[in-house]
Symmetry: C2
Subunit: 219 residues, 2 copies
């Protein structure tokens, strides 16, 4: 799998621009759980996921987390290069949820090409609009959806990511994705268990009635 | 006040691009309360506020509202032209909070110039990053701040917008800004009144101890 086949506007760049990217491009393999980017403290560069899974989340002063989006194969991460756009005034942490292979374009390389290339800049616009839509979806979830619906939607998402009904995940991790507390999630999962929707065991949530989860997520 | 002096990247556009904008540019005066843009149903165009105040908000299925940002003099509104970026997958309503004068650049004009102009596209990126930061601030407020802090911050913002301690605003309106219910806001304001922070009367919230509001907003 070559970078140029995975980078959407590659063919709209000039040959010298392509060379600059090739000259600066790095690859990196990170293990599950690695924090790749930490708030505004570093400006890692643009990340393109070759394979694996990344999670972008924000942290409260008290250390609570909420996932704002997840990045899958061939997704691109802009906010790991937030120094590139001075109007980005928030801090996102990026962590590998699975073993992940990445391409990294250094921020200054990307930025200097974006300043002269309308195609790259327009692509960046679309990328930001996509993440913006993810965050607006999150706002709507937090504001208008009750927690049972949010937990149900999360379990269905995990089921499709893990490709199994037996989800290896702790209540703490679910709480961190949803910006909730472990105790609250445990109570909700026990309620789901009583309703015959899931089966709980140590470090595991087994989905036994996915159709009941589905019907919870629709109003 | 001329458009070209108010539009930040005007001098970075070519003469033909400037002419295309001039030829398509419209001005519009709207009264307080006018809905200028309504979700994805119309694609009004890019708005530049000449003078006045706009509010961008989202609506739940049940008709609840939450303000996502406000636009002041010389602010530009991108999401009134959401048709321009296909990755924008959410619906925003834009309403005049004061009598407002606007310039409107039709979406297709803006889009066609943005596709060829790196400066305009990069400016659009910065604009979107600014709104993105507003929404991330909102997520943090909703997730980590209690309602008393949010009401306090809102009253201080209104005080600076209205330039007065006597805020002409209903409890319903405050609820709509904050995505809350009128009854909840009324209870909070009565608590503030008991604490000697505000004085309530019909259609009016008078801030009597702004320093107490300030100290509420810091943790």
């Amino acid at each position: 799998m070559d970078f140029q086949n995975c980078f959407p506007v590659w063919n709209k760049l000039t040959a010298p621009q392509q060379e600059r990217i090739h000259g600066a491009l790095m690859t990196r393999k990170v293990g599950k759980g690695t924090v790749i980017h930490n708030g505004s403290m570093d400006c890692t560069g643009l990340l393109l996921v070759k394979s694996g899974l990344l999670r972008a989340y924000i942290l409260s002063d008290e250390g609570r987390e909420i996932t704002i989006y997840r990045l899958f194969d061939l997704d691109m991460c802009l906010f790991s290069a937030s120094c590139m756009l001075r109007s980005i005034q928030f801090e996102v942490t990026i962590e590998a949820e699975k073993d992940t292979e990445l391409w990294i374009i250094p921020a200054e390389t990307y930025k200097s090409i974006m300043e002269e290339s309308a195609p790259l800049s327009n692509y960046t616009n679309e990328l930001m609009a996509t993440r913006f839509s993810d965050v607006m979806w999150l706002v709507e979830q937090i504001m208008w959806k009750s927690l049972d619906k949010r937990v149900a939607a999360f379990l269905l998402e995990e089921r499709s990511i893990q490709g199994s009904d037996k989800l290896k995940i702790t209540h703490e991790t679910i709480a961190n994705h949803l910006g909730s507390h472990r105790e609250v999630i445990t109570r909700m999962l026990r309620y789901f268990q009583n309703e015959g929707i899931v089966k709980l065991s140590r470090g595991m949530v087994e989905v036994v009635a996915p159709q009941k989860l589905e019907s919870l997520t629709v109003d």
